[in-house]
């Protein structure tokens, strides 16, 4: 993995955003990068490739990651709010000490992940495939699990408060 500066990451993200808008095409993948203490907000990054990367101490706010690829990506000490992960690939991801507030993870593939000391609150897990995960010391509060598959997870000190709508 390569560390990127805030400027480099922003350039890639901006390029990708322009690509989403159909304006240009550049080297904009975020695969296998290390991004530390970076804030990303109010931007469309649909289907972005960010596999095998590490986001640490990041704040992500109102970002559209629809269908994005986070396979084997690690989120560490991150706060994610008002963001969309619908249909995203969250397979084999790792979440450590993260907080997800008011996020849409509907129909995402959230499998074989490792989740430690995380909080998911007011999140949409409808249609999610949430299986084979290893979860410890985490809280899932006010989670919509309608039509979701939440099975075969290994849980230790995990609290769930779910509803279906």
């Amino acid at each position: 993995m390569n560390s990127v500066t805030k400027e480099e990451l922003y350039t890639r993200i901006q390029n990708y955003h322009l690509y989403v808008l159909g304006e240009r095409e550049e080297d904009d993948d975020l695969n296998e990068l290390i991004a530390d203490e970076i804030e990303i907000a109010d931007i469309r990054l649909e289907e972005i490739y960010a596999a095998g990367s590490l986001f640490s101490n990041c704040k992500i706010s109102a970002v559209d990651f629809y269908g994005a690829h986070f396979h084997k990506t690690t989120f560490r000490n991150c706060v994610v709010v008002d963001s969309v992960f619908r249909k995203a690939d969250l397979g084999s991801t790792r979440f450590e000490n993260c907080r997800f507030d008011n996020c849409d993870l509907s129909r995402s593939e959230f499998m074989n992940a490792r989740i430690e000391r995380c909080t998911f609150e007011n999140c949409d897990f409808s249609g999610i495939i949430f299986t084979g995960n290893n979860i410890t010391d985490s809280t899932f509060k006010s989670i919509n699990v309608r039509d979701g598959v939440l099975k075969r997870n290994e849980e230790l000190r995990v609290e769930w408060q779910t509803y279906e709508s």
Binding site: Y19, V20, L21, G22, E23, D29, N31, E32, E46, E47, Y49, A51, G52, Y66, G67, H69, H71, K72, V84, R86, K87, D89, G91, S92, S106, R107, E109, M111, N112, S126, G127, I129, T131, G132, D147, V149, K151
Partner: protein, 942 residues
Amino acid sequence: MRWYKLVLLTWIIALPAIVKAGGGPINNEEVIREGVIALNKMIHQNEYNNRHHQSWKNNYVLMLDGNGKFIEQRDVVGNTALLLSDDDVKSINDALVKVNDKKTFGVYEIVYNNWYIDLSERIPENATIKYITDYQKWSKDNIRNTIVSEMKSINAEIFEKSELNGYEKKVGIVCGRVVVLLNGMKQHASVVFDAHGDESWTNGELRDLNAKIDPYLPKLSDVKNFLIEYPNALKVAFNTKGSKLDLPVMPYEYKPAKGSFFDAAWERIGELGTAGGTGGENKDPIAESGSVVYDYAHVLTADEIRNLISGLVEISNRQGGFSARVFISSYKTSNEDITKIREIVNNPGPMDVILWFHVDLDKTTHSALYLGKSVPQAREVSVFIRMAAEFIESLGLAASNFTLTGLFDGLSAFINKAQVPERFYNPESVDKDGNPDYNPILYQIFLKSGQLQSDRFGLMADMFPQEHMQAGGFAMSQIEFAFYCGAYNGLVEMVASMPKLAGWLIKIILNEDNAREELWEGMKAFANKCNLGKTDYMLGAISPAYPMMKIGECITPIIVDKVKEAYTGKNPCVYAATTGKVVFNIVMLIIPLTRAGDIAKIADVLSYIDPIALLLRGMGLGARLVFIGGKALYSWGKFYLQLMIQDGKIILQVLDDALRTIGRDQMPMLELAMAGTPIRVRVPPGTDLSGEWRAIRYMQDANGQNIISREGERLVEMSRGTDRESILGITDDAGKADGVADDVKPGEGVADDAATPATGDDFATVNGRVKKPGDRTDLYGSFNKADNSNIPKRYLADESRFNKLAEDPAQGGKITPKTRQEAMAGLEAEMQGVIKGEIKRGPADIEFFDGNGTPWDVKGPRSKGGRMNADMDQDQAFESIRAELQDKHDIMNPITNQLNKRHVILDCSYMHAADHAELWRRLKAGLSQSEIDRIVEVNVKF
């Protein structure tokens, strides 16, 4: 002199500078000079003709033959056919003679065949216009802008410098093809078109007219018809523009023939109130309409309206449910009523086929067509009505079927997917009460739309002995048309519910894509196949009267003999239709033996037909083809096997001599072994079970895949002891009770069987499984974010539908590359008949509902490659499918209102063979057979 640009249309792109193949850039001045000289010469000749009362000799189309230096009329490079044949040019000119019949409106057309441009760098196959224009790797100029300006300047200058006289309004058109070459070989071709009006046109006037007529025009790729229809539509729109009434563009125009019904009816326009139907101050056309016939011209009597309504409603009920609605207005109709009509026609019901007739003072009748969104083949229906416009002028309304009702009847049959009733092809047809019911509409359209083929090929003459054809005195064209109808009926009967086939008859009737010649050429190609080197294949026992014939002999005699059998002394049209049916059956059954690729286009159906047809392959000793009751059957002891395909699946039936289906329990069963694995096989009743029977092999189709019926039964070739004669058996209990561990559908283990070469469309789906995965990891996620510009055209025939399928309803209709991939997979599954069309966008929880209301989710795992440098996560790919099929809630079927299990379209486009095989290994291990049966595979075609 002022010139105003009228319209410019291009498809694809090209032309940074005009370049002759292999030569250097040339000066446009030469092209212009050549065009001016040629146009002036033609105009002067026309003027001479007019002075000598020979205006019928006039020409208004100029083909620039070229001088070998600048514009090449003849095919030079890349085997590019001529843009227009001599017949095409004649047809275009005939149409222009009509357009230019008065001194008010004149159109000239200059057509060139090819301009060439040489490239030094290959254009990627998936290049978008944007990519080409932005990156300009092969040109300093912006290619697109350059070709636009080139076309404009050339057209403008030719017409400015020509001596155009005689017409108040003049329009000049230049149209031609750009061939893009790479290293001297054709890379791709495009057609460009430009039209200019003279100074009499006000600024924006032509542009506005063009915008109005554009929806009614054929595609520019249909060059001939575009050049025919464009000038006519422009003239009609121009003429209508002067009306004080607020009329829409009405693209069809004619004058009723003297003595026709409409001629008489229009006479009544001046006699308001006397017609009786909707005449009189107190008669409201809407109230009297029955929601079918709206007579705002007050020309129909009450009886006429009633009869018309009942006739149209009856046809609607028996022909596919399309709803005819007719509006009639005249120059006397108030603008207020015109507004009412416009309001209705602009908001048609889903199945509405609306015709609006508007009559001028001189009885010139304008008409327009409006179609509901569920009416299929909208473009072809428009062409149909355009062709019908010329004989609508002769329509009656009384006992004859050549009426408005008959027109709708023909149109409904035209777009319906059902068989064509005899009343359309047999002039002596009678209804169940013995009354004549012949409807000539389809035949008339057929006649107008292209030359006959039957006189060009000897096969027709072989099939139809002269004495039979001459019986009844029918025209050869009538017999040929009946033949097509019969062929289509045979096709529909054999392969029902196949959406791909819906357009075949339409193509034949309209002769689109030269469908007639293609059919005949294809038939001729294999009819003449001799010495196939397959002498062990027998096509015998067609009837007891004919001995077995080796297929190594020519096929023609087989067809001829069968056709002769079909002759029952009926009139030649019925005979021809029966023949068409028989021949088509034979054709379809023989094609795979001959591998006659020539016929592939007609037989887009081949991928469906193959499993049936290929029963012949390798089983010549065991089964004999017979025709009984017009059906192609395989003799099976004293019984018959019948194979049909419905919704992409094989249905295997056993019939007795009265063609009644018999149950499997009536068939004796043998316990055998196939490659060491025990299997149970049903054999024909009456089979001598003594002796040592052995299973030889499973029957396979053309692609080497086992033939498996919808119920999972397989066909097995088996024989006894040293007998050379083998018979067919049917595996019992779908092959599942036999304990065959690897009892999977074709395709599931394709990677394990790499030695079996795929043939034909290597990526097609057979029995729900792809022959091999697409392996296009480079394309995964590559589709544009913002638009459909790099989506293959086959999925954009109806782009608004594509967009609807690609929308994610949970995200306000968001469309992304991923949702585009899903839409392509869904449409491909529909196009191949893998799932029943028309698919519709589902709710947030799934991707699609198919035509039965079955819910489908798309899974598109991708292998390593492209933008992802990681191996495919097999655990995740399997779990995603497993959870979908095993764990997720059932979905409400919107048609049956019952809960249905979810199904999966597995999009294999982005998988390597090894990943595909491994995924199937896991699926087979982790899912039940019924869950596996809810998976269909497909490869998107790029």
